[in-house]
């Protein structure tokens, strides 16, 4: 096939398929070939689903052949973090514990919806065990590598999702975000990563980490693709008790809109400390492009991080209580202590964390009375070396694992919609900037991101090494 489609985003591929310029089967075969070849280098995929993918592609071609509309993602190849249920495939969630378990009987809700939109699932992607961890250095399956530098981490826990998109192995991917697990790999791999409002997208058919924090969302190389995939997956789902489906506003309709009326500010205080100069410069670059002159401080953000830490560990410890009792030796050494700790924390910490959550939420929502979109770094530093334990910040050595998520965790804690947009050209590796809105205001994020993309400030090229 003509390889030009391999380097296109989902929007362009779908357009070509729907116009009959190329068949979904040709696209799918080419992507599977490319992804299987590159997988030895990047270690993104845990399993390829070639038979399923070709069946889905043939179905799309059949619909087009009959003059029908296969959907807005017609023939677009994608991958999913391996905590999503895929019919006929055992859901691993990055662990070896579940390898012998029966295969999933049906697809996760969001996968079904993507299928209805014509998207082609080509495989399952590696992740940190049980979605716990920010670097994706999984001891069982090996580290997922960063396509911008193979010696560096991809970010976690949706590392396979970030790396596969940055390497052009898929047009988009799905990840999950508990405390930053979509935004971090998106930032470190230099792509867009979208964590919608808590409850906007169904999590039915996914392996949870900490239910009151768990979100699912897309990673992609363009704002159009983020919008299109979100629109395709959106909607209520009675099978997920927290899924309200959002107040549906087509995000595709928010592209290329004026942004004059949106009130913007950068986050001050906590979000301008404990980071690298490069991370601050990334935010400054976006602020300059948007003419943002105001800043605002969220009080008690360090307490928010602490509260998120406590609740996550308590919920995660309970989720894996049986695994802790029966399969402790099979845990990844990097997650074992964290899950055990979650079973040992005092109840009054947990209750105080929940009480704080209500208060903090109220404080932050008040800020949205004055501003529509807030800006902050996605990570305090760019991708670290694989195996690197500490990072020098302000002259001190800080642990990478417990610090990489410091800017992400206090925001997802209260379920805000956040889009991490990529910044290239500051230092050797990509950075990410979080665009943050009030619950249900995803449309504001897409408008801003679309503007930044059109201005050339936030773009997500396939990594040079993978072209």
């Amino acid at each position: 096939m003509n390889n030009k489609f391999l380097y296109k985003d989902a929007n362009r591929i779908s357009s070509a398929v729907r116009k009959g310029e190329v068949s979904a089967r040709e696209i799918t075969e080419a992507f599977i070939q490319r992804a299987t070849t590159l997988n030895d280098k990047y270690n993104c995929f845990s399993q390829f689903l070639s038979n399923r993918a070709l069946k889905e592609a043939d179905r799309v071609d059949e619909i087009i052949g009959q003059g029908g509309d296969p959907g807005v993602l017609a023939g677009v190849p994608y991958g999913v973090k391996n905590l999503f249920d895929v019919e006929g495939v055992t859901t691993l969630a990055g662990s070896i514990m579940y390898k012998g378990q029966p295969a999933a009987e049906k697809d996760a809700t969001v996968i079904k919806r993507l299928q209805k939109s014509g998207a082609i699932l080509i495989g399952a992607l590696h992740m940190s065990e049980f979605a716990y961890g920010y670097t994706n250095e999984n001891s069982h399956y090996g580290p997922v590598k960063n396509p911008h530098d193979l010696t560096r981490v991809s970010g976690g826990s949706s590392g396979g999702s970030g790396s596969s998109v940055a390497a052009g192995m898929v047009a988009f991917s799905l990840g999950s975000d508990t405390n930053g697990s979509i935004r971090l790999p998106a930032a470190l791999c230099g792509v867009f990563g979208f964590k919608p409002t808590y409850g906007a997208l169904s999590r039915f058919g996914t392996k949870m980490f900490a239910s009151s924090f768990d979100h699912v969302g897309p990673l992609a190389r363009s704002v159009e693709d983020i919008a299109a995939t979100y629109d395709a997956m959106c909607g209520p789902d009675p099978n997920d008790p927290v899924c309200h489906g959002g107040k549906f506003v087509s995000l595709i309709s928010c592209l290329n809109q004026k942004i004059d009326g949106l009130r913007l500010a950068s986050l001050d205080g906590y979000f301008k400390s404990n980071g690298s100069d490069e991370s601050y410069e990334s935010v400054n670059q976006v602020c300059k492009a948007l003419n943002v002159t105001k800043s605002v401080k969220i009080n008690n953000t360090d307490s928010a991080r602490g509260a998120a830490f406590v609740i996550t560990h308590c919920e995660g410890g309970l989720e894996h209580a049986n695994d802790i009792r029966n399969n402790l030796d099979k845990f990844d050494p990097t997650t074992r202590s964290g899950f055990i700790t979650g079973t040992l924390l005092p109840a009054n910490w947990y209750v105080k964390a929940q009480k704080f959550r209500s208060w903090y939420r109220t404080q932050v929502l008040n800020i949205f009375n004055e501003f529509d979109v807030l800006l902050a770094p996605a990570t305090p530093f760019s991708a670290t070396k694989i195996g690197q334990k500490t990072m020098k910040l302000d002259g001190s050595d800080v642990p990478v694992l417990s610090n990489l998520g410091i800017y992400a965790q206090p925001l997802s804690f209260i379920g805000l919609p956040i889009l991490s947009v990529p910044i290239h050209g500051i230092g050797d590796m990509p950075h990410g900037v979080q665009l943050i809105a009030a619950p249900g205001k995803e449309s504001s994020l897409i408008k801003i991101a679309s503007y930044l993309q059109n201005e050339g400030i936030c773009v997500a090229p396939i990594a040079n090494d993978a072209v």
């Binding site: 009792r325 402790l328 202590s337 040992l344 910490w349 105080k352």
Partner: protein, 68 residues
């Protein structure tokens, strides 16, 4: 639950805390993992400390609110 360190100063005894919680929760932490768990408990305490020192107005209820 304190013990004296090598300088004779009192410090929290994480080992005893872990053993007692193990008994109460029914989770047995094998010897080979105990040092890592204690390190993690210490890290957790450090990260949680700002929350523990934070005064929350009384009118705020813990979320989620139970509704029968």
């Amino acid at each position: 639950m304190n013990k004296k360190n090598k300088d004779g100063e009192k410090e929290f005894d994480w080992y005893s805390y872990m053993i007692q919680l193990e008994h109460l929760t029914g989770n047995n932490v094998p010897d080979e993992y105990r040092a890592d768990v204690i390190s993690y408990l210490k890290l957790t305490k450090q990260i949680v400390q700002p929350l523990l020192e934070c005064d929350i107005p009384e009118e705020f209820e813990a979320a989620p609110v139970y509704r029968p």
